[in-house]
């Protein structure tokens, strides 16, 4: 098993005729994702990468049948409308790749998702990848790279940084440790599926034996993961690294979410809270593979 994406999920790309949409549709298809079509208003009846393009998501649904996932490659100011359209049509999982989506637009999407019982990853996400089964978004960049970097195994990987999602999984792979699924939750302050929710999904996935997490300064996501561990809702081992040692209060470091505001969201606070509930917090990023290996050996998984 894996979470969020596998070879059975039927996927469309919103914004499939754009520069990124086109390139990433190709990547996803080549990696084995079951892409069934795409949507761009005003471009219906065309084809991209051999896939049919529709004017609206509803039309795609009516023509192709039920759609499980939509991946959005849409300019930030238009994301709200596109996301609402997909959920209205019945799509239950969205992957919102673009960054710079206004925060109140994300709040509106979050509310609509709640109403519809749908979920979304992102915004500002590199996506989700289940090794050898499928990819949503742009993790790996090229199908060939993704195949050579990642392989299936017992670890669930989640991260607030896109690049780190790939590198963490790659360095684990170099130590012989494969992954069930990689999730980049997105770099923004508000994301649809933050770390605590992803960790809960991994908890419910029988193939995932341990969870590796890259956190960073800002937001309360890591503290919420600690709460879940404390409450016994997450019992699988969590190996975590928290970035941002050199960061300053009040200054944002790239990610909109990476800002310490009013003394909240500090690295020290997150590390202390996670250690308190028994998570394995590593001081050096490079130690993640060895600590994970040790944890898995103790569980007789490796």
């Amino acid at each position: 098993m894996a979470i969020l994406i596998d070879e059975t999920k039927r996927v469309i790309v919103q914004g499939i005729t754009g520069r990124e949409g086109q390139a990433r549709a190709k990547l996803m298809k080549e990696y084995g994702t079951n892409i069934v079509g795409g949507v761009t208003p005003g471009r219906g009846r065309q084809e991209v990468e051999g896939l049919p393009v529709f004017d609206t998501v509803e039309e795609a649904w009516e023509t192709l049948g039920p759609i499980d996932v939509s991946v959005l490659f849409i300019p930030a100011p238009l994301v709200r409308s596109a996301a609402l359209e997909a959920m209205d049509a019945g799509v239950q999982l969205l992957v919102i790749v673009p960054d710079r989506v206004p925060i109140y637009d994300v709040l509106e999407i979050a509310k609509a998702a709640k109403n519809a019982g749908a979920r979304f990853v992102g915004p500002n996400t590199l996506g989700v990848l289940s090794p050898s089964r499928g990819v949503l978004g742009m993790i790996g960049g090229r199908a060939m790279s993704a195949r050579s970097w990642f392989f299936p195994g017992p670890v669930g990987v989640c991260s607030r940084s896109g690049g780190i999602t790939s590198s963490m999984t790659y360095y684990l792979a170099q130590e012989g440790i494969g992954a069930t699924t990689l999730v980049h939750v997105g770099g923004d302050a508000i994301v649809g599926l933050p770390l605590p929710q992803v960790v809960q999904l991994f908890q419910g996935d029988p193939e995932t034996k341990a969870i590796v997490m890259f956190g960073e300064i800002g937001t309360s996501q890591e503290e919420q993961v600690a709460d879940l561990i404390e409450q016994g809702q997450v019992t699988k081992p969590v190996i975590a690294y928290i970035g941002g040692k050199g960061a300053k209060q009040g200054t944002r470091f790239s990610h909109a979410g990476a800002i310490i505001e009013g003394g909240r969201g500090t690295r020290e606070g997150k590390v202390a809270r996670l250690e308190e509930v028994g998570a394995h917090v590593v001081e050096n990023f490079g130690d993640i593979p060895s600590v994970t290996k040790q944890v898995l050996r103790e569980m007789n998984v490796l």
Binding site: E20, P75, P77, D99, R100, V101, P102, I103, Y104, V106, L107, E108, A110, K111, L126, M138, G140, G141, R142, S145, W149, S159, S161, G162, G163, I164, S166, S167, Y170, Q174, G187, A189, I190, V191, P194, F214, E216, T219, S220, G243, G244, K245, G246, A247, K248, Q249, G250, T251, R252, F253, S254, H255, A256, G257, A258, E261, G262, N284, F285, G286
Partner: protein, 519 residues
Amino acid sequence: MARLHEYQGKALLAQKGIPIPGGRAVSSPQESREVAAEIGGPVVVKIQAWVTGRASLGGIRFADTPDEAAQAAEDMLGMQVGGFTVEKVLVEERLALEREFYTGVIVSDREQAPVLMFSSVGGTGIEEIAQEHPDAVASAVVDIEHGLRDYQARNLVRRTGIHGRLQRDLGGLLVKLYDVARAWEARAAEINPLVLTADGKLIAADCRVTVDDYAVFRHRDLGITFARELNRPPMELERIAYGVEEGDYRGTFYFIQMTDEFQQGEGVVGFHGAGGGGSMMSMDAVINEGFRIANFVDTSGNPPASKVYRAARIILSQGPIDGYFGSGSGVASQEQFHSARGLVKAFLEEPLTVPAVVRLGGNSEDRAVEILERVNDYLSAPVEGYKKDDSPQFCAQRLKALVESHTPPAEPPTGRKQPVAQRPYTFETVTNGTVTFDHAVCATCETKICVQECVPQILSLNEEGCPVLNITLEEAKKGRCIECMACDVDCYFQGSGGGFVELPIPGLEAYREKRGRTG
């Protein structure tokens, strides 16, 4: 900046009908005197700066007469606080306080919604007050779809033990505060203190409003020219960098200057990260080796070579750094040769005189490192490229070794310049760049590498064997030319040198001249 000054925030409150004290912001003692005279009574003069505890810094003063108000302004304008030069003071009527409250709307990542907070005890040190008097504080999640209803606000106030008319008035004001936050898309909008005056009026005595950086484009009326969260005003180079980012939506370019005061030999390096998490991790690695960093930069999200070039030029326009450190997550999904070309072009033109170590791990890393290291044939300083199996720690150690063994030249050598073309063929790019081919030179070129390596394949050879566009000038300008820099960098390395791309960075030359770094 997306964080507003007190006087700017108050203007928004007033627009939604929240009472604010009479007065206005001024930038001279004379104006301060005039405003105090208009008010015609005791006033308070406050520095406009994003620092907490202004009173203890001498940033808030009472004045009973216009002369005293002028004196206060005189003392405060030009004051240095928290990296700030005070440029404006706010002169306002002094309020007769009966009671102080706190209220705020903050976008909560935990709730994925705006959260409204109210405290029946307000004033400085609200965090401590909240801890000491938990009963005085109430909060409620606002439904973004329906907004904040009047009765919800009143119930919130009720939970802090306030009843009757005051509850009704506060409830009404809280609804207006939510309207402010929603209308201008504030990540935070706080009034502290919210004052009840002796004659029973509610007035916002101070406020703090931070607008979402990503929504600034919808609020031109705010006049925000620098939508970046910093705890001080932007430096000149940061403004120049912001201009680059604003004009080019492809990929991300983030630049923060950490220090501007250092000398050669003090171990300060230029830092060029890629990807938020990877940048932070790499920054930690280079700091662990004993370096200080002059700046934080992140170019990621598949930026074109031109953007990486501009970032590198800006990094190298800072003070006399001892080295250049580039590193990202290590396993980038983007094609890394774009970044390599951008760096090479910047290093050649500068020219780079200090060691550079760049970790280019990820897609097409072999090609990226090959392009990068080729620059060593043209520079006096060593440039080393690394890949995904080289850790940030190892790369930082390499930089340390190179910096220790390298002596920068006393006289800076001249960098690569745009050659004067005899028979120029030119077209413009999407960021106002100009691609020039000197067909007199191109005709003699044996490799025609530009046509071969052009990523979007928009170049063809004409009858004479010279590169020309196979699309229209308009299409190139609209973005079909992605500024991959192959016709510049690869031509310089492997062709006849007939191709050059000029990429302007508005304000940079003037800045460098001022700082004595021409070239």
